[in-house]
Amino acid sequence: MPVVHRLVAFALAVALAACGGGGGGAAPDATSPWFDPVTYSSAATASLPSAEERAAVSQHQLVLPTGTLAYTATVGHLTARHVVSGAPQASFFYVAYTRNAVDPATRPVTFFYNGGPGSASVWLHLGSFGPRRLATGVPSTTQPRPFALVDNQETLLDVSDLVFVDAIGSGHSQAIAPNINRSFWGVDSDAAAFRDFVRRYVEVNARQASPKWLFGESYGGPRSAVLALLLEQAGVELAGVVLQSPAMDYNSSCAIVARVDVTCAGFLPSYAATGAWHQRVQPPPADAELFVASTRTLADSQYDPAARAWLASATPPPDALVDQLVASTGIAAATWRSQFNLTPGVVRQQLVAGQLLGRYDARIAAPPGSALAAGGDPSLTLIESSFAQAIGPYLASLGYTTPSIYVMFSGAIEQWDFSHDGRALPDTLPDLAAALTLNPALRVVAISGHHDLATPFHQTALDLRRLPAPTVTELAYPGGHMTYLDDASRIRSRADLAASYAAAGAAP
Protein backbone atom coordinates (compact mmCIF):
# COMPACT_ATOMS: atom_id res chain seq x y z
CA MET A 1 0.00 0.00 0.00
CA PRO A 2 1.38 3.44 -0.87
CA VAL A 3 2.41 5.39 2.18
CA VAL A 4 -0.15 8.12 1.59
CA HIS A 5 -2.99 5.61 1.55
CA ARG A 6 -1.73 4.01 4.70
CA LEU A 7 -1.72 7.38 6.41
CA VAL A 8 -5.28 8.02 5.26
CA ALA A 9 -6.32 4.63 6.56
CA PHE A 10 -4.61 5.33 9.84
CA ALA A 11 -6.28 8.71 10.19
CA LEU A 12 -9.61 7.11 9.41
CA ALA A 13 -9.04 4.39 11.97
CA VAL A 14 -8.20 6.99 14.58
CA ALA A 15 -11.28 9.00 13.67
CA LEU A 16 -13.48 5.91 13.83
CA ALA A 17 -11.98 4.89 17.11
CA ALA A 18 -12.65 8.31 18.54
CA CYS A 19 -16.28 7.96 17.52
CA GLY A 20 -16.32 4.44 18.92
CA GLY A 21 -15.34 5.61 22.33
CA GLY A 22 -18.19 8.07 22.36
CA GLY A 23 -15.94 10.71 23.84
CA GLY A 24 -13.67 13.37 22.52
CA GLY A 25 -16.47 15.42 21.01
CA ALA A 26 -17.06 13.02 18.12
CA ALA A 27 -20.65 12.33 17.15
CA PRO A 28 -21.86 9.48 19.38
CA ASP A 29 -24.21 8.24 16.66
CA ALA A 30 -21.46 7.62 14.10
CA THR A 31 -22.36 4.81 11.78
CA SER A 32 -20.39 3.67 8.77
CA PRO A 33 -20.68 0.26 7.19
CA TRP A 34 -17.67 -1.30 5.52
CA PHE A 35 -17.62 -3.72 2.65
CA ASP A 36 -14.23 -5.36 2.95
CA PRO A 37 -13.30 -6.61 -0.52
CA VAL A 38 -10.38 -8.76 0.65
CA THR A 39 -10.75 -12.52 0.45
CA TYR A 40 -9.02 -13.86 3.56
CA SER A 41 -7.53 -17.34 3.68
CA SER A 42 -6.85 -19.75 6.51
CA ALA A 43 -4.34 -21.75 4.47
CA ALA A 44 -0.99 -22.38 6.15
CA THR A 45 0.91 -20.60 3.38
CA ALA A 46 -1.57 -17.74 2.89
CA SER A 47 -0.23 -14.23 3.08
CA LEU A 48 -1.71 -10.78 2.41
CA PRO A 49 0.49 -8.52 0.26
CA SER A 50 -0.57 -5.58 2.45
CA ALA A 51 -3.46 -4.66 4.71
CA GLU A 52 -5.75 -1.74 5.38
CA GLU A 53 -6.84 -0.70 8.84
CA ARG A 54 -10.54 -0.13 8.41
CA ALA A 55 -13.68 -0.93 10.33
CA ALA A 56 -17.46 -0.81 10.20
CA VAL A 57 -18.96 1.24 13.00
CA SER A 58 -22.53 0.94 14.23
CA GLN A 59 -24.64 2.09 17.18
CA HIS A 60 -26.71 -0.14 19.47
CA GLN A 61 -28.71 -0.19 22.64
CA LEU A 62 -29.14 -2.95 25.16
CA VAL A 63 -31.88 -2.87 27.80
CA LEU A 64 -30.61 -4.26 31.09
CA PRO A 65 -32.31 -4.41 34.49
CA THR A 66 -29.94 -1.64 35.57
CA GLY A 67 -30.87 0.62 32.65
CA THR A 68 -30.31 1.09 28.95
CA LEU A 69 -26.75 0.65 27.75
CA ALA A 70 -25.76 2.50 24.57
CA TYR A 71 -22.72 1.12 22.80
CA THR A 72 -20.69 1.25 19.62
CA ALA A 73 -19.68 -1.85 17.69
CA THR A 74 -16.47 -1.59 15.66
CA VAL A 75 -15.74 -4.46 13.25
CA GLY A 76 -12.65 -4.65 11.09
CA HIS A 77 -8.91 -5.06 10.96
CA LEU A 78 -5.85 -3.66 12.66
CA THR A 79 -2.28 -4.36 11.63
CA ALA A 80 0.01 -5.86 14.26
CA ARG A 81 3.54 -4.52 13.81
CA HIS A 82 6.52 -6.11 15.48
CA VAL A 83 7.39 -4.46 18.78
CA VAL A 84 11.04 -3.98 17.81
CA SER A 85 11.25 -3.84 14.01
CA GLY A 86 7.88 -2.24 13.34
CA ALA A 87 7.39 -4.63 10.43
CA PRO A 88 3.79 -5.62 9.66
CA GLN A 89 3.08 -9.08 11.02
CA ALA A 90 -0.60 -9.78 10.49
CA SER A 91 -3.95 -8.20 9.87
CA PHE A 92 -6.07 -9.06 12.90
CA PHE A 93 -9.85 -9.17 12.60
CA TYR A 94 -11.65 -7.94 15.69
CA VAL A 95 -15.06 -6.88 16.96
CA ALA A 96 -14.98 -4.22 19.67
CA TYR A 97 -17.91 -3.16 21.83
CA THR A 98 -17.36 0.16 23.54
CA ARG A 99 -19.82 1.81 25.82
CA ASN A 100 -20.92 5.31 24.82
CA ALA A 101 -20.89 8.34 27.07
CA VAL A 102 -18.14 7.17 29.41
CA ASP A 103 -14.50 8.16 29.34
CA PRO A 104 -12.79 5.41 27.33
CA ALA A 105 -9.38 6.49 28.59
CA THR A 106 -9.98 5.06 32.06
CA ARG A 107 -12.61 2.42 31.37
CA PRO A 108 -11.43 -1.22 31.47
CA VAL A 109 -10.97 -3.01 28.17
CA THR A 110 -10.89 -6.80 27.83
CA PHE A 111 -9.41 -8.82 24.96
CA PHE A 112 -11.18 -12.14 24.31
CA TYR A 113 -9.97 -15.09 22.26
CA ASN A 114 -10.70 -18.81 22.09
CA GLY A 115 -8.09 -21.52 21.79
CA GLY A 116 -7.62 -24.63 19.72
CA PRO A 117 -5.03 -23.53 18.72
CA GLY A 118 -6.68 -22.45 15.49
CA SER A 119 -10.13 -21.54 16.78
CA ALA A 120 -11.82 -18.25 16.00
CA SER A 121 -13.15 -16.23 18.93
CA VAL A 122 -16.75 -16.94 17.90
CA TRP A 123 -17.51 -19.13 20.93
CA LEU A 124 -16.74 -16.45 23.48
CA HIS A 125 -18.10 -13.75 21.18
CA LEU A 126 -21.56 -15.23 20.65
CA GLY A 127 -21.76 -17.41 23.73
CA SER A 128 -20.36 -15.65 26.76
CA PHE A 129 -20.39 -12.00 27.86
CA GLY A 130 -20.88 -9.96 24.70
CA PRO A 131 -23.98 -7.81 24.27
CA ARG A 132 -25.75 -10.53 22.26
CA ARG A 133 -25.58 -14.28 22.68
CA LEU A 134 -26.94 -17.49 21.23
CA ALA A 135 -29.49 -19.04 23.61
CA THR A 136 -28.27 -22.63 23.61
CA GLY A 137 -30.27 -23.98 26.52
CA VAL A 138 -27.24 -26.14 27.45
CA PRO A 139 -27.25 -28.81 28.86
CA SER A 140 -30.69 -29.43 27.39
CA THR A 141 -30.52 -30.92 23.91
CA THR A 142 -34.08 -30.04 22.99
CA GLN A 143 -33.71 -26.33 22.21
CA PRO A 144 -34.72 -25.77 18.55
CA ARG A 145 -31.71 -25.19 16.31
CA PRO A 146 -30.29 -22.93 15.04
CA PHE A 147 -30.34 -21.14 18.37
CA ALA A 148 -31.80 -17.64 18.60
CA LEU A 149 -29.54 -14.63 19.02
CA VAL A 150 -30.80 -12.73 22.06
CA ASP A 151 -29.85 -9.70 24.13
CA ASN A 152 -27.38 -10.82 26.78
CA GLN A 153 -28.49 -9.83 30.26
CA GLU A 154 -25.14 -11.12 31.58
CA THR A 155 -22.97 -9.01 29.30
CA LEU A 156 -19.80 -7.60 30.86
CA LEU A 157 -20.17 -4.46 28.73
CA ASP A 158 -21.42 -2.52 31.74
CA VAL A 159 -18.09 -3.37 33.43
CA SER A 160 -15.57 -3.27 30.59
CA ASP A 161 -15.27 -2.58 26.89
CA LEU A 162 -14.98 -5.88 25.05
CA VAL A 163 -12.71 -6.76 22.13
CA PHE A 164 -13.08 -10.17 20.45
CA VAL A 165 -10.07 -10.96 18.29
CA ASP A 166 -9.40 -13.91 15.99
CA ALA A 167 -6.12 -15.83 15.91
CA ILE A 168 -4.17 -15.70 12.64
CA GLY A 169 -5.72 -18.06 10.10
CA SER A 170 -9.10 -18.04 11.85
CA GLY A 171 -12.07 -15.71 11.50
CA HIS A 172 -10.85 -13.09 9.04
CA SER A 173 -7.31 -12.74 10.45
CA GLN A 174 -4.36 -13.34 8.16
CA ALA A 175 -0.60 -12.92 8.03
CA ILE A 176 1.00 -10.10 6.03
CA ALA A 177 3.92 -10.79 3.63
CA PRO A 178 6.66 -11.84 3.95
CA ASN A 179 5.01 -13.80 6.77
CA ILE A 180 2.54 -16.59 6.09
CA ASN A 181 -0.21 -17.78 8.44
CA ARG A 182 1.97 -20.65 9.58
CA SER A 183 4.65 -18.16 10.69
CA PHE A 184 2.36 -17.55 13.68
CA TRP A 185 1.32 -21.13 14.32
CA GLY A 186 3.49 -21.68 17.34
CA VAL A 187 3.28 -20.97 21.07
CA ASP A 188 5.75 -18.07 21.01
CA SER A 189 5.10 -16.56 17.57
CA ASP A 190 1.32 -16.60 18.15
CA ALA A 191 1.59 -14.83 21.49
CA ALA A 192 4.01 -12.26 20.06
CA ALA A 193 1.55 -11.42 17.28
CA PHE A 194 -1.28 -11.07 19.83
CA ARG A 195 0.99 -8.74 21.83
CA ASP A 196 1.44 -6.56 18.79
CA PHE A 197 -2.31 -6.55 18.11
CA VAL A 198 -3.06 -5.45 21.67
CA ARG A 199 -0.40 -2.73 21.42
CA ARG A 200 -1.93 -1.52 18.18
CA TYR A 201 -5.48 -1.51 19.54
CA VAL A 202 -4.36 0.42 22.60
CA GLU A 203 -2.46 2.93 20.47
CA VAL A 204 -5.20 3.55 17.89
CA ASN A 205 -7.91 3.85 20.52
CA ALA A 206 -5.83 5.76 23.09
CA ARG A 207 -6.45 3.13 25.78
CA GLN A 208 -3.04 3.48 27.46
CA ALA A 209 -4.59 4.37 30.82
CA SER A 210 -7.43 1.84 30.69
CA PRO A 211 -7.17 -1.20 32.96
CA LYS A 212 -6.51 -4.03 30.51
CA TRP A 213 -7.69 -7.60 30.87
CA LEU A 214 -7.05 -10.74 28.86
CA PHE A 215 -9.79 -13.37 28.61
CA GLY A 216 -8.61 -16.57 26.94
CA GLU A 217 -10.34 -19.91 26.77
CA SER A 218 -8.78 -23.39 26.56
CA TYR A 219 -5.55 -23.00 24.55
CA GLY A 220 -6.31 -19.31 25.04
CA GLY A 221 -5.24 -19.89 28.67
CA PRO A 222 -1.61 -20.79 27.91
CA ARG A 223 -1.67 -18.12 25.21
CA SER A 224 -2.67 -15.64 27.92
CA ALA A 225 0.21 -16.65 30.18
CA VAL A 226 2.78 -16.19 27.41
CA LEU A 227 1.03 -13.04 26.16
CA ALA A 228 0.79 -11.52 29.63
CA LEU A 229 4.55 -11.81 30.05
CA LEU A 230 5.24 -10.40 26.57
CA LEU A 231 2.90 -7.46 27.19
CA GLU A 232 4.35 -6.73 30.63
CA GLN A 233 7.88 -6.90 29.21
CA ALA A 234 6.84 -4.51 26.42
CA GLY A 235 5.54 -2.07 29.03
CA VAL A 236 1.81 -2.72 28.52
CA GLU A 237 0.62 -3.23 32.07
CA LEU A 238 -2.33 -5.56 32.58
CA ALA A 239 -4.95 -5.37 35.30
CA GLY A 240 -5.92 -9.01 35.07
CA VAL A 241 -6.07 -12.28 33.19
CA VAL A 242 -9.15 -14.50 33.05
CA LEU A 243 -8.34 -18.12 32.28
CA GLN A 244 -11.47 -19.86 31.01
CA SER A 245 -11.00 -23.65 31.17
CA PRO A 246 -7.29 -23.27 30.47
CA ALA A 247 -4.72 -25.93 29.54
CA MET A 248 -1.87 -24.19 31.36
CA ASP A 249 0.50 -27.15 31.28
CA TYR A 250 0.02 -29.68 28.50
CA ASN A 251 2.45 -31.96 30.31
CA SER A 252 0.16 -32.45 33.30
CA SER A 253 -2.84 -33.89 31.45
CA CYS A 254 -3.11 -37.68 31.40
CA ALA A 255 -5.29 -37.29 28.30
CA ILE A 256 -2.47 -35.60 26.39
CA VAL A 257 0.71 -37.27 27.59
CA ALA A 258 1.58 -40.82 28.57
CA ARG A 259 4.08 -40.75 31.40
CA VAL A 260 4.43 -42.82 34.55
CA ASP A 261 4.23 -39.81 36.83
CA VAL A 262 1.22 -38.17 35.16
CA THR A 263 -1.91 -39.55 36.71
CA CYS A 264 -5.56 -38.84 35.97
CA ALA A 265 -6.14 -37.50 39.50
CA GLY A 266 -6.88 -34.09 38.01
CA PHE A 267 -9.83 -35.68 36.19
CA LEU A 268 -11.31 -37.66 39.07
CA PRO A 269 -13.54 -34.91 40.51
CA SER A 270 -14.89 -34.32 36.98
CA TYR A 271 -15.74 -38.01 36.72
CA ALA A 272 -17.56 -37.70 40.04
CA ALA A 273 -19.46 -34.63 38.83
CA THR A 274 -20.38 -36.48 35.64
CA GLY A 275 -21.48 -39.56 37.57
CA ALA A 276 -23.61 -37.44 39.87
CA TRP A 277 -25.25 -35.67 36.94
CA HIS A 278 -26.12 -38.99 35.30
CA GLN A 279 -27.34 -40.38 38.65
CA ARG A 280 -24.69 -43.06 38.91
CA VAL A 281 -23.31 -42.01 42.31
CA GLN A 282 -24.35 -44.00 45.40
CA PRO A 283 -25.85 -42.72 47.60
CA PRO A 284 -27.11 -39.82 45.44
CA PRO A 285 -25.54 -36.65 46.87
CA ALA A 286 -27.94 -34.15 48.41
CA ASP A 287 -25.73 -31.26 47.29
CA ALA A 288 -23.90 -32.03 44.04
CA GLU A 289 -21.40 -29.17 44.33
CA LEU A 290 -20.41 -30.07 47.89
CA PHE A 291 -20.04 -33.68 46.81
CA VAL A 292 -17.87 -32.74 43.83
CA ALA A 293 -15.67 -30.57 46.04
CA SER A 294 -15.22 -33.45 48.50
CA THR A 295 -13.87 -35.72 45.77
CA ARG A 296 -10.86 -33.41 45.31
CA THR A 297 -9.47 -34.74 48.58
CA LEU A 298 -10.10 -38.29 47.43
CA ALA A 299 -8.24 -37.51 44.22
CA ASP A 300 -5.19 -36.01 45.90
CA SER A 301 -4.78 -38.12 49.01
CA GLN A 302 -5.84 -41.57 47.81
CA TYR A 303 -6.33 -41.89 44.06
CA ASP A 304 -3.17 -40.06 42.98
CA PRO A 305 -0.70 -42.15 45.01
CA ALA A 306 -2.48 -45.36 44.06
CA ALA A 307 -2.43 -44.37 40.37
CA ARG A 308 1.30 -43.60 40.63
CA ALA A 309 1.92 -47.05 42.07
CA TRP A 310 -0.20 -48.57 39.30
CA LEU A 311 1.74 -46.73 36.58
CA ALA A 312 5.18 -47.32 38.08
CA SER A 313 4.90 -50.95 39.10
CA ALA A 314 1.42 -52.21 38.11
CA THR A 315 0.49 -52.32 41.79
CA PRO A 316 -3.22 -53.21 42.03
CA PRO A 317 -5.31 -50.64 43.91
CA PRO A 318 -6.65 -51.52 47.39
CA ASP A 319 -10.18 -52.98 47.33
CA ALA A 320 -11.51 -50.28 49.65
CA LEU A 321 -10.29 -47.57 47.29
CA VAL A 322 -11.89 -49.24 44.27
CA ASP A 323 -15.16 -49.46 46.23
CA GLN A 324 -14.94 -45.79 47.04
CA LEU A 325 -14.20 -44.86 43.41
CA VAL A 326 -17.16 -46.90 42.20
CA ALA A 327 -19.46 -45.21 44.72
CA SER A 328 -18.11 -41.75 43.88
CA THR A 329 -18.28 -41.99 40.11
CA GLY A 330 -20.60 -44.83 39.11
CA ILE A 331 -17.81 -46.26 36.97
CA ALA A 332 -17.73 -50.07 37.28
CA ALA A 333 -15.18 -51.82 39.50
CA ALA A 334 -13.98 -53.91 36.56
CA THR A 335 -13.11 -50.74 34.66
CA TRP A 336 -11.14 -49.38 37.61
CA ARG A 337 -9.31 -52.67 38.07
CA SER A 338 -8.33 -52.97 34.41
CA GLN A 339 -7.54 -49.30 33.66
CA PHE A 340 -6.86 -47.76 37.03
CA ASN A 341 -5.28 -44.59 35.62
CA LEU A 342 -8.59 -43.91 33.91
CA THR A 343 -8.59 -41.52 30.94
CA PRO A 344 -11.65 -39.44 30.05
CA GLY A 345 -12.33 -41.20 26.74
CA VAL A 346 -13.12 -44.42 28.57
CA VAL A 347 -15.43 -42.64 31.00
CA ARG A 348 -17.28 -40.97 28.15
CA GLN A 349 -18.04 -44.35 26.62
CA GLN A 350 -18.58 -46.54 29.63
CA LEU A 351 -20.26 -44.50 32.35
CA VAL A 352 -23.74 -44.60 30.80
CA ALA A 353 -24.63 -47.72 28.80
CA GLY A 354 -25.56 -46.95 25.20
CA GLN A 355 -24.51 -43.30 25.43
CA LEU A 356 -21.46 -41.33 24.38
CA LEU A 357 -20.89 -38.42 26.75
CA GLY A 358 -19.56 -35.07 25.58
CA ARG A 359 -15.90 -34.15 25.90
CA TYR A 360 -16.55 -30.44 26.36
CA ASP A 361 -19.68 -31.02 28.45
CA ALA A 362 -20.14 -34.53 29.82
CA ARG A 363 -23.73 -33.76 30.82
CA ILE A 364 -24.66 -33.92 27.13
CA ALA A 365 -25.06 -37.51 25.94
CA ALA A 366 -26.16 -39.19 22.75
CA PRO A 367 -26.25 -42.80 21.53
CA PRO A 368 -23.27 -43.78 19.35
CA GLY A 369 -24.43 -43.66 15.74
CA SER A 370 -26.87 -40.83 16.40
CA ALA A 371 -26.52 -37.48 14.64
CA LEU A 372 -25.32 -35.77 17.84
CA ALA A 373 -22.62 -38.37 18.47
CA ALA A 374 -21.40 -38.50 14.85
CA GLY A 375 -18.68 -35.87 15.31
CA GLY A 376 -17.25 -37.64 18.37
CA ASP A 377 -18.47 -35.03 20.87
CA PRO A 378 -22.24 -34.55 21.27
CA SER A 379 -21.70 -31.36 23.26
CA LEU A 380 -19.83 -29.76 20.35
CA THR A 381 -22.12 -31.04 17.59
CA LEU A 382 -25.08 -29.67 19.53
CA ILE A 383 -23.86 -26.09 19.27
CA GLU A 384 -21.40 -25.93 16.37
CA SER A 385 -23.69 -25.36 13.39
CA SER A 386 -25.67 -22.64 15.18
CA PHE A 387 -22.50 -20.65 15.90
CA ALA A 388 -21.18 -21.21 12.37
CA GLN A 389 -24.45 -20.05 10.82
CA ALA A 390 -24.90 -17.05 13.09
CA ILE A 391 -21.57 -15.26 12.82
CA GLY A 392 -21.70 -14.07 9.17
CA PRO A 393 -25.18 -12.51 9.31
CA TYR A 394 -24.42 -11.09 12.74
CA LEU A 395 -21.27 -9.32 11.49
CA ALA A 396 -23.33 -8.03 8.54
CA SER A 397 -25.85 -6.64 11.02
CA LEU A 398 -22.95 -4.67 12.51
CA GLY A 399 -22.20 -3.23 9.06
CA TYR A 400 -19.26 -5.50 8.15
CA THR A 401 -19.66 -7.47 4.94
CA THR A 402 -17.06 -9.43 3.01
CA PRO A 403 -16.81 -12.08 0.30
CA SER A 404 -14.72 -14.11 2.76
CA ILE A 405 -16.09 -16.99 4.76
CA TYR A 406 -15.50 -16.68 8.50
CA VAL A 407 -13.18 -19.55 9.42
CA MET A 408 -14.39 -21.14 12.65
CA PHE A 409 -11.36 -23.40 12.97
CA SER A 410 -8.24 -23.48 10.86
CA GLY A 411 -5.95 -26.45 10.37
CA ALA A 412 -3.37 -24.79 12.63
CA ILE A 413 -3.52 -27.40 15.37
CA GLU A 414 -1.96 -30.06 13.13
CA GLN A 415 0.98 -27.86 12.17
CA TRP A 416 1.35 -25.98 15.44
CA ASP A 417 4.78 -25.61 16.97
CA PHE A 418 3.94 -26.57 20.54
CA SER A 419 7.53 -26.28 21.73
CA HIS A 420 8.13 -23.67 24.37
CA ASP A 421 10.93 -22.94 26.80
CA GLY A 422 12.91 -25.95 25.62
CA ARG A 423 10.08 -28.41 26.02
CA ALA A 424 8.09 -30.22 23.33
CA LEU A 425 4.76 -29.26 24.90
CA PRO A 426 4.03 -25.97 26.62
CA ASP A 427 4.14 -25.48 30.38
CA THR A 428 3.16 -21.83 30.74
CA LEU A 429 3.24 -21.46 34.53
CA PRO A 430 6.78 -19.98 34.36
CA ASP A 431 5.45 -17.33 31.97
CA LEU A 432 2.62 -16.46 34.31
CA ALA A 433 4.99 -16.36 37.28
CA ALA A 434 7.30 -14.05 35.33
CA ALA A 435 4.40 -11.76 34.41
CA LEU A 436 3.47 -11.63 38.10
CA THR A 437 7.07 -10.77 38.94
CA LEU A 438 6.95 -7.74 36.66
CA ASN A 439 3.44 -6.81 37.79
CA PRO A 440 2.61 -7.84 41.36
CA ALA A 441 -0.82 -6.18 41.04
CA LEU A 442 -1.83 -8.52 38.20
CA ARG A 443 -5.03 -10.42 38.99
CA VAL A 444 -5.47 -13.99 37.81
CA VAL A 445 -8.96 -15.46 37.70
CA ALA A 446 -9.56 -19.06 36.63
CA ILE A 447 -13.02 -20.27 35.59
CA SER A 448 -13.75 -23.95 35.06
CA GLY A 449 -16.70 -26.26 34.57
CA HIS A 450 -17.27 -29.30 36.76
CA HIS A 451 -18.39 -31.36 33.76
CA ASP A 452 -15.55 -30.44 31.38
CA LEU A 453 -13.61 -33.57 30.35
CA ALA A 454 -11.18 -31.60 28.14
CA THR A 455 -9.57 -29.33 30.75
CA PRO A 456 -10.75 -30.66 34.12
CA PHE A 457 -11.22 -28.07 36.84
CA HIS A 458 -9.18 -29.87 39.49
CA GLN A 459 -6.15 -30.22 37.19
CA THR A 460 -6.37 -26.51 36.43
CA ALA A 461 -6.32 -25.78 40.16
CA LEU A 462 -3.34 -28.13 40.67
CA ASP A 463 -1.46 -26.42 37.84
CA LEU A 464 -2.13 -22.92 39.18
CA ARG A 465 -1.20 -23.90 42.74
CA ARG A 466 2.37 -24.25 41.51
CA LEU A 467 2.59 -20.46 41.60
CA PRO A 468 4.65 -19.29 44.57
CA ALA A 469 1.97 -17.13 46.22
CA PRO A 470 -1.80 -17.52 46.58
CA THR A 471 -2.56 -15.22 43.69
CA VAL A 472 -5.32 -16.96 41.76
CA THR A 473 -9.07 -16.61 42.19
CA GLU A 474 -10.30 -20.13 41.42
CA LEU A 475 -13.90 -20.33 40.25
CA ALA A 476 -15.66 -23.55 39.26
CA TYR A 477 -19.31 -23.99 38.37
CA PRO A 478 -21.60 -26.70 37.06
CA GLY A 479 -21.09 -26.84 33.32
CA GLY A 480 -18.66 -27.82 30.61
CA HIS A 481 -15.63 -26.28 28.96
CA MET A 482 -17.83 -23.31 28.07
CA THR A 483 -19.40 -22.75 31.48
CA TYR A 484 -20.98 -19.59 30.13
CA LEU A 485 -23.38 -21.59 27.95
CA ASP A 486 -25.12 -22.79 31.12
CA ASP A 487 -27.66 -20.12 32.06
CA ALA A 488 -27.24 -20.46 35.84
CA SER A 489 -23.44 -20.63 35.71
CA ARG A 490 -23.23 -17.66 33.34
CA ILE A 491 -25.15 -15.58 35.89
CA ARG A 492 -22.83 -16.70 38.69
CA SER A 493 -19.63 -16.20 36.73
CA ARG A 494 -20.71 -12.76 35.56
CA ALA A 495 -21.21 -11.70 39.17
CA ASP A 496 -17.86 -13.18 40.23
CA LEU A 497 -16.05 -11.55 37.30
CA ALA A 498 -17.66 -8.17 38.00
CA ALA A 499 -16.40 -8.49 41.59
CA SER A 500 -12.86 -9.21 40.36
CA TYR A 501 -12.92 -6.20 38.03
CA ALA A 502 -14.22 -4.02 40.85
CA ALA A 503 -11.51 -5.29 43.20
CA ALA A 504 -8.85 -4.52 40.60
CA GLY A 505 -10.28 -1.02 40.24
CA ALA A 506 -10.23 -0.53 43.99
CA ALA A 507 -6.63 -1.68 44.40
CA PRO A 508 -3.95 1.00 44.88
Partner: protein, 132 residues
Protein backbone atom coordinates in the same frame (compact mmCIF):
# COMPACT_ATOMS: atom_id res chain seq x y z
CA UNK B 1 -15.91 -23.24 4.59
CA UNK B 2 -13.11 -25.44 3.36
CA UNK B 3 -11.46 -25.76 6.80
CA UNK B 4 -14.76 -26.76 8.34
CA UNK B 5 -15.48 -29.27 5.63
CA UNK B 6 -12.13 -30.93 6.12
CA UNK B 7 -12.68 -31.20 9.85
CA UNK B 8 -16.07 -32.78 9.37
CA UNK B 9 -14.61 -35.30 6.93
CA UNK B 10 -11.80 -36.09 9.33
CA UNK B 11 -14.38 -36.57 12.07
CA UNK B 12 -16.33 -38.91 9.85
CA UNK B 13 -13.17 -40.81 9.01
CA UNK B 14 -12.50 -41.28 12.69
CA UNK B 15 -16.07 -42.43 13.19
CA UNK B 16 -15.92 -44.96 10.38
CA UNK B 17 -12.61 -46.32 11.56
CA UNK B 18 -14.15 -47.14 14.91
CA UNK B 19 -17.64 -47.94 13.69
CA UNK B 20 -17.54 -51.69 14.36
CA UNK B 21 -18.98 -51.48 17.87
CA UNK B 22 -18.25 -48.52 20.03
CA UNK B 23 -16.01 -45.61 19.06
CA UNK B 24 -12.45 -46.49 19.88
CA UNK B 25 -11.00 -44.36 22.70
CA UNK B 26 -8.17 -43.42 20.35
CA UNK B 27 -10.68 -42.01 17.90
CA UNK B 28 -12.51 -39.76 20.31
CA UNK B 29 -9.32 -38.78 22.08
CA UNK B 30 -7.80 -37.43 18.89
CA UNK B 31 -10.59 -35.02 18.11
CA UNK B 32 -8.96 -32.09 16.38
CA UNK B 33 -10.67 -29.50 18.52
CA UNK B 34 -8.59 -27.94 21.18
CA UNK B 35 -6.95 -27.99 23.47
CA UNK B 36 -5.12 -30.82 21.89
CA UNK B 37 -1.68 -31.79 20.72
CA UNK B 38 -1.05 -34.04 17.73
CA UNK B 39 -0.23 -37.62 18.60
CA UNK B 40 3.37 -37.43 17.43
CA UNK B 41 4.22 -35.65 20.64
CA UNK B 42 5.18 -38.50 22.84
CA UNK B 43 5.95 -38.59 26.53
CA UNK B 44 6.26 -35.26 28.26
CA UNK B 45 9.71 -34.16 29.25
CA UNK B 46 10.99 -31.86 31.94
CA UNK B 47 9.68 -31.07 35.37
CA UNK B 48 6.66 -29.13 36.59
CA UNK B 49 8.41 -26.83 39.03
CA UNK B 50 6.51 -25.10 41.78
CA UNK B 51 7.00 -22.48 44.44
CA UNK B 52 10.56 -21.17 44.71
CA UNK B 53 11.81 -23.42 41.89
CA UNK B 54 9.09 -22.10 39.57
CA UNK B 55 9.99 -18.56 40.57
CA UNK B 56 13.63 -19.25 39.71
CA UNK B 57 12.51 -20.50 36.31
CA UNK B 58 10.40 -17.36 35.84
CA UNK B 59 13.28 -15.07 36.72
CA UNK B 60 15.56 -17.03 34.39
CA UNK B 61 13.13 -16.15 31.60
CA UNK B 62 13.35 -12.50 32.54
CA UNK B 63 17.14 -12.72 32.64
CA UNK B 64 17.24 -14.37 29.20
CA UNK B 65 15.18 -11.54 27.69
CA UNK B 66 17.40 -8.95 29.38
CA UNK B 67 20.61 -10.68 28.34
CA UNK B 68 19.48 -10.98 24.72
CA UNK B 69 18.93 -7.22 24.59
CA UNK B 70 22.02 -6.32 26.64
CA UNK B 71 24.53 -8.59 24.92
CA UNK B 72 25.56 -5.96 22.34
CA UNK B 73 25.92 -3.40 25.14
CA UNK B 74 28.25 -5.19 27.49
CA UNK B 75 25.50 -6.77 29.59
CA UNK B 76 23.91 -3.47 30.65
CA UNK B 77 21.06 -1.40 29.24
CA UNK B 78 20.29 2.31 29.15
CA UNK B 79 16.68 3.47 29.07
CA UNK B 80 16.92 4.15 25.32
CA UNK B 81 18.50 0.77 24.64
CA UNK B 82 15.73 -0.91 26.62
CA UNK B 83 13.09 0.99 24.67
CA UNK B 84 14.65 0.08 21.33
CA UNK B 85 14.81 -3.58 22.33
CA UNK B 86 11.08 -3.60 23.09
CA UNK B 87 11.64 -3.78 26.86
CA UNK B 88 9.05 -1.14 27.66
CA UNK B 89 8.72 -2.31 31.25
CA UNK B 90 12.36 -1.55 31.95
CA UNK B 91 12.20 1.78 30.11
CA UNK B 92 9.19 2.71 32.23
CA UNK B 93 10.69 1.68 35.57
CA UNK B 94 14.20 2.71 34.65
CA UNK B 95 14.74 5.40 37.28
CA UNK B 96 13.57 3.12 40.07
CA UNK B 97 15.81 0.31 38.83
CA UNK B 98 18.86 2.52 38.33
CA UNK B 99 19.61 3.16 41.97
CA UNK B 100 23.30 3.73 41.25
CA UNK B 101 22.30 6.59 38.93
CA UNK B 102 24.71 5.07 36.43
CA UNK B 103 22.44 5.58 33.42
CA UNK B 104 22.62 1.90 32.61
CA UNK B 105 21.46 -1.10 34.62
CA UNK B 106 22.38 -4.73 35.14
CA UNK B 107 19.93 -7.62 35.46
CA UNK B 108 20.53 -8.04 39.18
CA UNK B 109 19.26 -4.48 39.67
CA UNK B 110 16.13 -5.28 37.66
CA UNK B 111 15.63 -8.35 39.78
CA UNK B 112 16.12 -6.52 43.08
CA UNK B 113 13.64 -3.81 42.11
CA UNK B 114 11.01 -6.33 40.94
CA UNK B 115 11.38 -8.28 44.18
CA UNK B 116 11.08 -5.19 46.34
CA UNK B 117 8.04 -4.05 44.39
CA UNK B 118 6.35 -7.44 44.87
CA UNK B 119 7.01 -7.30 48.59
CA UNK B 120 5.61 -3.76 48.75
CA UNK B 121 2.45 -5.04 47.05
CA UNK B 122 2.01 -7.69 49.70
CA UNK B 123 3.14 -10.48 47.38
CA UNK B 124 6.68 -11.25 48.54
CA UNK B 125 8.44 -13.64 46.17
CA UNK B 126 10.03 -16.77 47.60
CA UNK B 127 13.72 -16.77 48.36
CA UNK B 128 15.59 -18.36 45.48
CA UNK B 129 17.77 -21.30 46.35
CA UNK B 130 19.28 -21.36 42.87
CA UNK B 131 20.53 -18.35 40.98
CA UNK B 132 18.44 -17.81 37.84
Amino acid sequence: VSGQARITLAGLALMLAGAAAAIEPAAIETTRRGPWAPAQFGPADGVAREGAALQAQAEAKLRAAFDAAAAPHGGQLTREQAKKAGLGWLARHFDAVDRRRAGSVRFDEVQRYARERSAAHGRPLPHLTTKP
